[in-house]
Symmetry: C2
Subunit: 425 residues, 2 copies
């Protein structure tokens, strides 16, 4: 009997997804997602039973946070159903960007056409499977999903017993959602190695594993949307209002394990009077503060030396040291901008200042994906900013979807030209 390799298996799922892509329409996808929401509830026993098996197998192997994200219960199953129904209900993508008639009579339109098949790699969180698959279908792209191995039993039920039957009931080819059916990490590497079948892969999550996958994808000619590193920056300007500065610092640290929380605080040396109170907030949150020499010189004993290569190093990526924040004391706004632009991932940065000119200089000079004045970087999220759930986050410095990516970004530009056959140039 011939052995089917992992690569051949994934190629099979991808090829079937490729063939299914052309059949997707806005109306049928909306129906399929509504049906999927009902099926999530209907298949609750199977989902919970597969999840229990996943959790049992993972206990002792995954840390507490990961186990919690893996585990489903009744409320979470309801949440998954609501989420997929919500994606089904949002407005489909407008396909025409603009249209015009050339002097020679040609009618030109600039359009958004589907990409074809998009890959998605995500950690062992079952809810992400349905969420991402729903968003990819919403954009009229077919999908090949790859979950962290610990969630494979649950995600397999969500694909085979929920999404595929829902697609089928809506009159669509069930293969429009494919799955890498191996718990092995090699599955992720295979997913980013098929530029002809899967030209784009969303990489959820962050850290060195994501960075390595993004590199491998690039070598293979596959484009990824990813943020191996995130981290928010807050610049407390010389003209910062005390209450606003403290409130925004507090608000930017409401959670620690997320990429858009305050990771690097830049305090203007002319605002150094606020340092004791800022350090007090860090202390109250249980944070270890790491800083530059000049931060230690200004802030004193509360600050330990920063021991990572880049000042913007993202602590949320490191489970053992997640309760950490970095502090620097900067010379002026230009110094803050330089650090935000050159020594961080470029995810998001904000300024606190009562000086409107300074605020505008900061907003104009920052090159990251989201720039804030008197609002925290915690708003860096597709749903918060645009009302559409987020497929992923991308911090590339190149044209294309950047920052929070939603289904509205997952298209190819095409010019469509109609003449009467007489326009020869």
């Amino acid at each position: 009997m011939a052995t089917v390799t992992l690569r051949e298996e994934v190629e099979g799922e991808a090829l079937a997804a490729n063939r299914a892509a052309a059949a997707l329409t806005d109306d049928a996808v909306a129906s399929a997602l509504t049906l999927a929401a009902a099926l999530v509830r209907e298949r609750r026993p199977e989902i919970l039973s597969a999840n229990q098996a996943d959790v049992e197998a993972a206990t002792g192997r995954l840390d507490k946070g990961m186990l919690d994200r893996l585990r489903l219960d009744d409320a979470r199953v309801d949440g998954i159903a609501e989420q997929v129904a919500a994606v089904g209900a949002i407005e489909p993508l407008e396909r025409e960007i603009a249209s015009w008639t050339l002097p020679n009579g040609l009618q030109v339109s600039e359009r958004r056409i589907p990409i074809g098949t998009v890959g998605a790699n995500f950690e062992a969180r079952p809810n992400v499977a349905l969420d991402v698959a729903g968003q990819l279908l919403k954009s009229l792209n077919s999908a090949v999903l790859r979950t962290g191995g610990a969630a494979l039993r649950t995600v397999t039920v969500l694909v085979d017993d929920v999404l595929r039957p829902a697609l089928d009931q809506a009159g669509l080819p069930p293969e429009a959602v494919g799955l890498v059916r191996s718990p092995d990490r090699e599955g992720a590497r295979v997913l980013v190695s098929m530029p002809e079948r899967i030209p784009l892969v969303i990489l959820r999550g962050s850290g060195p594993t994501t960075a390595e996958l993004a590199r491998l994808a690039a070598e293979n000619g596959v484009r990824t949307l990813a943020h191996a590193e995130g981290g928010g920056v807050l610049y407390v300007h010389a003209q910062a209002d005390r209450d606003r500065a403290l409130a925004m610092t507090e608000a930017a640290l409401d959670r620690l394990g997320v990429c858009n929380r305050l990771n690097l605080a830049l305090v203007d040396r002319d605002a150094a009077g606020l340092l004791p109170e800022l350090l007090g907030i860090f202390r109250d949150k249980g944070l270890e503060v790491r800083g530059t020499e000049r931060a230690i010189a200004s802030a004193g004993d509360g600050v330990l030396p920063h021991d990572r290569e880049r000042l913007g190093y993202e602590w949320a990526n490191e489970p053992e040291r997640v309760a950490t924040v970095t502090l620097d004391v900067v010379d002026d706004l230009d110094d803050a901008l330089r650090i935000a632009n050159e020594e961080t991932s470029g995810l998001a940065a904000g300024i606190v200042t009562e000086d409107i000119d300074a605020a505008n200089r900061f907003l104009d000079g920052y090159r990251g994906t989201a720039a804030y004045w008197h609002a925290t970087t915690r708003f860096t999220d597709g749903f918060e900013l645009t009302g559409a759930p987020e497929t992923g986050i991308n911090v590339d410095h190149v044209p294309g979807p950047r920052g929070p990516v939603t289904y509205r970004d997952l298209w190819l530009r095409q010019y469509r030209v109609v003449g009467d056959g007489t326009q020869m140039r």
Copy 2:
């Protein structure tokens, strides 16, 4: 004395361009380009003299077509001046895409911000240097240019004696346009190897050299906009009008060395009656016709076997066989679409048919960068379609600038968020 390597030289130009980028404004760039147009005329003797040296050194090494593209004369110098003035005069890019207020009062805007520094690699054509540099500046990005070595003397004059003085006179840092100052091909490889300084490189031209550079760039984490392969497709449907089919075939072959000309003719078997007249046009144009077995079976002796790996192989890339066209006789519209989508570069394809449903099925089903009905693929050009000169062409199947790329595409998305400091989520 320390030796400066090519890499260090290019890094120096890139670093200076990086630093210059923030100073670029729409008004000052428009002034600089107007000044550059005047300087082109003023420095005509130096330009022509450098060009004469380039042409003399290249004679015997480059083929006739390349020598012609390298050579400048009075009229071409005037053309360069007019071109850069025209880029100066077009509308600057609108920076705000959309803006809205969230229920919590946050003001959000989605904006186009500059990329920073963009690289451009182009063949030994002096006019391209000024044209591309003008477009990059117009997009408020600084530039590092790399020309085919044969044009380096001319391009050096255009950078050092035209563009840089023009920038300086307009109050901008002259280093906003950098140059790879080596005629060596290694310069192109260095240009695509600095993701931190030059995250995006426009690769003009096509063929294996471009494909290899694009691969190398991807390995280095540098994104490119390129079309290593092009080629237009024309599908003559069963319901094609004879006169339209012949006129469009004729019009699509007005030039042979261009990427958007008719490269692959797909004739429906129910339109095979038109084959003798189509072959007559090919013959009149002096074309060798290469075809599939079924094309040879239908069209007879006039067709030689296709001897390349992919049916869409682009003949315009091969100087010795540029006067070639590929012919296939297809079963139906689906067969034509499959070939256009799977066996060509995806640059452009058109249909000739009087059947509006067939036309729409073709336009909806084709996945390339430009789809035509009763208009030829020769219109696949930024200036023809959008009125803005073309910086390059990109045939990637991923979101971002695709098809003809103009200065309007060279930006990064940024969300800008302004609050009053009380919106905490």
